[in-house]
Amino acid sequence: MARKTQPAGDASSISPELKREMYRYLRLQRAVEERAEKLYKGGHIHGGNFSGRGQEAISVGTALALEPKDKIAPMIRNLGAVLVRGYSPKDVFSSFLAKATSPNGGKDNSTHFGEVQNRGVIACISMLGTLVPVMTGMALAAKLKKQPIVTLTYVGDGTTSTGEFHEGLNIAALYQVPFILIIENNQFAYSTPVARQTPVKDLATKAAAYGIPYAIGDGNDVFEVYRLTKKYVDEARAGGGPRVIEFKTLRMRGHAQHDPADYVPRELVAEWEKKDPIDRCEKALLAEGLMTEKHRDDIIARINTQVSEAEQFAINAPFPDPKETVRGVFADDSIVPYTPWEER
C-alpha cells in the first residue's frame, strides 16, 4: 500500500568523510553556475543557460546515495549530480560554450550529455517527463537481467502534470522495478506557481495512485536528502519496487538566465535565502568540528582555481568542425542525410 515513510536515521549516520564530500560538490556546483552566469552575461554562452542555485543539495545528496553501477538521468538543474558522476567543470563549460570538447561534441546544449557504461549518466532532453518511462525501462532491464542496479531521475513540480510522469510511474509500479523518482518541488514551472498548475499540495502523494511508497523531505538539507534517498535506494535494490521522494525547495534564479523572475515574491526569496543549502551544510560541518574555517577556505580556493582553469579551457577550445553537422544521425555513418545540389 502507498504510504509516507518515515526518515531513516539522522545525520550522525553519515560519515564525516562523506559529509565533507557533499560540501565540496555543493560548492563546486555553486561555483560552476556562478561562473556560467558571468559567461552568459559576457556573451560566451549560446542560447539558454539554466541554474540550479538553491537546489544543489538535491542534486548532490541524491547522486551520492547511488552506487557507481547505478544509472542516473540528471535534468538541467542537476549539475551537482553530473559532477558527482565524474564529469569535470571542463566538460560542463565545454558543453555550455558549445565547443568540440563538449561530451556530446556540441551537438546538444546545457547538461544534455551522458555515457551509459562507465558514468551511468543518461542524457536528458527538454521534454519534461520523458525520462520517467526511460529510467523505468532501464530499471526493468536490470530486474530482468537480475543485476542489482537502481535507476534514478528527477522531475520538477511542473512535470508531475505530464502524461509521461503518470505513464512511467504506472509501468514502474506494475513491474515493480528498482526506480527512484525525485520530485524537485522548486515551487515554479517557469512563471507558474504550483497552486496554479495542480490542485495537489504535496506532489509526492501522486505516487499513491500507483501504490508507490513516497516520502517528502527538506530539499535544502543535504543530509536529509541523502538519508531519504539512500534508504529508498537500498529498498529498491532489495526488490522493493519503485519509490518517489518530493524535496521542497525554491528555484533561486529565473527559469533561465534571461528571466529576472519578477513574478517570484521577494519575501519568498528572502525566506529561502536563509535556508541556503550550502550555508546549512557549512555551519553543520563547522559546528561538528568536521571542518575548520581554514579547511573551508582551502576547499573554496581549490574549487575557484579548478573552475577558472576549466573556464579558460572551454573559452580556448575549438568549435566543432561544421562537417560534423551531417554525421552521427544513424549508427551507420555511411548514411549521409544530405548533400547540397550545388556541391555535387
Binding site: E115, V134, E167, I171
Partner: protein, 324 residues
Amino acid sequence: MGREITYLDAINEALHEEMERDASVLLLGQDIGPYGGAFKVTRGLFEKFGDQRVLEMPIAENGIVGTAIGLAYMGMKPVVEFQFIDFIACGFDQIVNFAATSRYRWGVPAHIVLRGPWGGMVRGGMFHSRTPEMWFAHSPGIKVVAPGTVRDAKGLMKAAIRDADPVLYLEHKWLYRRLKATLDDDVVTPIGKANVALEGDALTIITYGAFLTLCLDAAKELAKDGIRTEVVDLRTLYPLDRAAIVASVSKTNKVMIVHEDIRFGGIAGEIAMTINEECFDKLDGPIVRVTPPDTPVPYSPPLEDAFYPNVGRIVKAARKLARY
C-alpha cells in the same frame, strides 16, 4: 521450409526466429501475451518465451516507447507493438524527441523496433487506417520500412531487429492474410534498398506497401496494351534508395508515384524532387502522382472507395503518361 505462409505468418516467424537467435530481443505491447495480439501477430510467443520476454503493457504509448528506450540503453532489443499504427501518435514525444535524436545528441542509438498494423482499405475508419509514415521519415534518426511482400515482411523485420537505430516497421493489415508465399529459412532484406518488383521499359511506377499489389495488377492491365511497366517497390522510405529511383527513371524516362498516404507531404513529392535534382535530363514527361486526397480516411464504403486510388485509376494515369 517449403511451406506456404501468409504475410502475417512471416512477421510472426521473424519474431520467433530472432527471439530464439538473440536472448536480448523482447516484445512490448498491449494484449500481446496469452491473447497473442489484436491481429495474432504475436501468437505463440508468450507460450514459448514467457513473461520475461513478452511484456504486456498498459494503454500508455509514450510510457511503452520510453520503457523500450530504457531497455535498449541496457543492451536489450525491444520490439514495440502498437495495436493499430494510428496509436503511434500517442507515443509521438518519446519517438520523435527522445529516440530519434538519441544517436545524434549523445552517441547512443535507441535500438528499438516500432511496429503495428498500418493502412486501410478495410473499412476501419480514420482511427484504424492511418498512414503516419512521413511523420517519422521527417524526424531525423528513424528508419522507416514498409514491406509489400511476404518475403520482405519477414526479411525487413529481421533486419529491423538487428539494426541499432530505431526502426518503424509498417505492416499492412490489408496484406496480412491476402498475400501468401513460400520462403527460405533466413530471409533478411537490407534496409535502405528498393526492389524492382517488375521490369519494364515504357514507364516506372514507384510505390510501397499494399499499393505494390495494386500497382502490379495495374501493370498486368497495361501490358495488355503493350505498355511494359517497371514497378519499383521502395520497401524502405527512410533512408530513401535514391540510386534505385534514378536507375529506373534513367531507363524508362517516365515516372509515376503511387501511394496510399495522402497527397500533401506524401513521399511522392520527395521522390519528384529527388528526380528533379538527380536526373532531370532523363525525363520525357511530367512526374505524375496518384494518391488519396488530403482528408481523413472516411468510413462509409462509398466514401472509403472514393478516397483510395484503385487499379483503374492507376491504369488510366499510366496510359496518359505513356502517351508523352
